[in-house]
Symmetry: C2
Subunit: 376 residues, 2 copies
């Protein structure tokens, strides 16, 4: 018997039939002996439809009113899924963000979760009810009930935060892909399904653009030790487990405000080798870095500037010790790069540099952190 949070995205509840299929899966999970909180998104294209309506009225609608508008999408989903569960004979109750008590910052359209009161959830769970919670929404103020939405990744974030609040055994994120893949299968057909991944690895993948789980959600999972499972709504395949290291219990306040920045790291042992005015055509970078790798030189960062016209600058960083050898390779290949270019390719080396890395998923959707880190 486990306490489980399940999250179903918009395509999983995109029609009456799909809602009924989700209800069956939820009921099976209950019949297997589990207690369940289910978080749902708005049905399919509902949010897009509401956004278009708003855009017809205003090119720049107020964020407060957008939240008022968009939060209805999830409210429709929770009511319908709860009806579908009740129709199967499964006792259930729907709750909005306000009714659960999901308290967020006041930042409309991109609010971060501060606190979730577990009291009402625990009471309904003890009554044997499946609780169907509207994802993506909260209130910024318990007396004025100002409706906020959480922005990108909001429903995943709601689910994981709820799992943290009620100390769920795990949180299942149902989606329309089979789990976490090594890369985008639409671009790389032989992308592999990962059976397990650590939360820290997942955080890196998610930050770099893996869309199946939002880094905000992964960050809460890691910070509160919530094990995640990412799996398909359309099959019984086990999907991918996102494993969290054991953590110390931490208070459920400022849930998403902890650690916007995990770490600032710096590396003084860096040099930058640049090639200026390289002809801008495919294969040039591969040629340059192929030659460098033949000399067994490790490259760290690669920066490519886009010039107007038909040339480009390419730069890379290496350790200072390797600066001379890298420069030599670059100079050696100038004639082959020069080609038809009329302006001469030039090599520049800078040794008086450092690399500063600011790491932390908390920076996503929170402007100004980089600026703060760059204040002299």
């Amino acid at each position: 018997m486990a306490l489980v949070v399940q999250k179903y995205g918009g395509s999983s509840v995109g029609s009456v039939e799909r809602i009924q299929a989700v209800a069956k899966r939820v009921q099976q999970t209950v019949k297997a002996g589990n207690s369940l909180v289910v978080v749902v998104s708005a049905m399919g294209k509902t949010t897009d439809g509401l956004v278009s309506l708003a855009k017809e009225i205003s090119s720049n609608p107020s964020r407060r009113e957008m939240d008022m508008l968009l939060s209805t999408g999830e409210q429709v989903s929770i009511a319908l899924l709860t009806m579908a569960l009740q129709e199967l004979g499964q006792d259930a109750i729907s709750l909005t963000g306000a009714q659960v008590g999901i308290v967020t910052e006041a930042a409309h359209s991109k609010a971060r979760i501060l606190e979730i009161s577990p009291d009402r959830l625990q009471r309904h769970l003890q009554e044997g009810k499946v609780i169907v919670v509207a994802g993506f929404q909260g209130i910024s103020n318990t007396s004025e009930l100002e409706i906020t939405t959480l922005g990108r990744g909001g429903s995943d974030t709601s689910a994981v935060a709820l799992a943290a609040a009620i100390k769920a055994d795990y949180c299942e994120i149902y989606t329309d892909v089979p789990g976490i893949l090594t890369t985008d299968p639409r671009l790389v057909p032989n992308a592999q399904l990962l059976r397990e991944i650590t939360a820290n690895e997942m955080l890196e993948l998610a930050s770099l653009g893996a869309k199946v789980l939002h880094p905000r959600a992964v960050e809460i999972a890691r910070n509160y030790g919530v094990d995640l499972v990412v799996r398909s709504s359309w099959s019984d395949d086990p999907g991918t487990k996102v494993l969290c290291p054991p953590i110390q219990a931490r208070p459920l306040t400022d849930l998403e405000l902890t650690r916007p920045v995990d770490a600032v790291e710096f590396d003084l042992d860096q040099a930058k080798v640049s090639l200026w005015r390289v002809p801008d055509r495919p294969g040039i970078a591969a040629h340059l870095f192929g030659e460098i790798s033949q000399k067994n030189i490790d490259i760290d960062l690669i920066i490519q500037s886009i010039h107007e016209g038909n040339t480009n600058d390419i730069a890379c960083t290496v350790t200072r010790a390797e600066a001379k050898r890298t420069e030599a390779v670059a100079v050696a290949i100038i004639p082959s790069l020069q080609g038809e270019a009329t302006t001469p390719v030039e090599v520049m080396v800078e040794k008086d540099i450092a690399k500063i890395a600011i790491a932390g998923a908390g920076m996503i959707g929170r402007p100004g952190i980089a600026a703060k880190c760059l204040i002299p």
Copy 2:
């Protein structure tokens, strides 16, 4: 400078263009120097669409979940109208029933309003904002925020109750007809527009089926002395004024629970004259009551029973003093009524009867009042 509540029904906000037209009208009212609370229904067929979705899932969905579902319709409208007002440069804010603090009974899908807190409304009005409130909805419980809907006539009821709560100078009900007509213009083309009507007369019309204003709304108007104006969203015609007699201030608690029954009246001076087995064809009743009126006899109630077969019973009540004369008229016309009927028409007189009238709009939608009045 007046404090005005305006209510726009579903067809008045049925499209983006109509919402924009409503916004212009609201802005004009503000520019004329008024403070404004606007109550809106769900857009056009939105509620019907949500009901169909629910019916696809369950033939008998839970009322709580229906309220959760249907209350989204008005929430969409308030957000869009507020955006349209802001787009015109008019400061505005949308509020759900929960945010206003419209507290109702717990009876889902037909809750009556108990209280409305004027505090937040007054604050936003002082800030110079137009307040756009979701009609038809409330909460049954200020801590659990259980969403209720008010049932039939809900948006009119919300508007008038809000007007009572903030002591508005008047409440305008915008609709798609020009005002209160003497009867249904679709059936009687020369129906007349009433320029004025008293709340008590309106209550009677509304109770008898005039659909343009719900009796619940009229009852609150009468009880709290809120003057109403019923007018068309599509013109500047003044419409119909529903005038309330001056009333003593009463507390804003149990708003809709006052007086389900206004009065029980009885009349012992009654006799019933019945004609049994009258042939069932048009003109018979006109013939009978024409003859009676020729004798200058006042008729009170007329009851017509529907038999199987081709005959019918017709009865009327008169004062006891007129019973004999009425009986004589009835007997006298039997031969002309008899016509081709095979069973004989018969006249019966009962003098041992009384008429009891139970009056009060509060009985509408509140089953059991008649039963209670009939307990011996």
